[in-house]
Symmetry: C3
Subunit: 132 residues, 3 copies
Amino acid sequence: METINVHTREHAQLIDITREIQELLSKSNMTTGILNVFVPHTTAGITINESADPSVAYDILAVLDRLVPWREPYYQHREGNTASHVKASLVGSSVRVIVEDGGMKLGTWQGIFLCEFDGPRTRKVHVAFQSN
Amino acid sequence: METINVHTREHAQLIDITREIQELLSKSNMTTGILNVFVPHTTAGITINESADPSVAYDILAVLDRLVPWREPYYQHREGNTASHVKASLVGSSVRVIVEDGGMKLGTWQGIFLCEFDGPRTRKVHVAFQSN
Amino acid sequence: METINVHTREHAQLIDITREIQELLSKSNMTTGILNVFVPHTTAGITINESADPSVAYDILAVLDRLVPWREPYYQHREGNTASHVKASLVGSSVRVIVEDGGMKLGTWQGIFLCEFDGPRTRKVHVAFQSN
């Protein structure tokens, strides 16, 4: 297992970590298998979506903000960051990518994003390789 | 890794691909392990839900349409398909199924669905087997 | 593969199953690898979120109830539990955790939760170990 540290700068932000993960994959010498990306936090998530146009990440965050507003009178959690926990469960804590010939079998437009929902913070991302 | 091509016919559609995946599993000769299903697209997803009654798939699409409307004045992405990107991240890009005795350990009502959110198109679905 | 039976007591409930999974992991003698947790039901899910403060689980359920109301005139599924199927696909049917030195590499606040969306029922949770 390898761990990446990601410094987020906004309260809510999608950060493309595809390049960092590809670098870890190259160092691992794995040619065929599955790569697992896991975030050990409860107010952040991991997703795969379009990396070419940054407006996609912007829109994903905007829709999530409308679906799960920051303040609601019925929230019970006293820390005040209920919305970030809910978004984490909607998006999920991990993604997997198939590896062949040493490369990730991502689609043309796909990138891997750390989803910061309660930043700015320093986040950890764990990456584990399963060789075939 | 194997790849299935799926031709979708609607703008939004859930297509049951359980049988195609079971056929690939049978050809793979894997008896015990994990099967990974991955969609290399950013406006489509993969989910596991009820395959017996088609009204469940219909309702899932209807709820997603209400949660993430096709047009909103605040969307920034110029291609106009923001909603399909958001739905892809809500549903996720992959599922995994446990395999024992050469069969998928799905529940009685579970099927694997490709989620088309911006069709009709021809979509690819990657399937990777991890033998124990 | 191992299977846990979980008895849920509410119509909607998040049940922390981290301890039960850790016990299965200890019995498995796996020291390094990936642990897969899968729910073979279409009206229940699995998520990873905060286990320290129970109000987080309460709020996740409350937000999901508002996003996907129990009754809507446009639902087609005659069994009347459309909302639980939709929530299952939003949250997902499985999670994975990296294992090192015989322990799950969960974050400080993370726990694994069975998400009951149409209880009370007895639910099965499958756990599969992939040793490195």
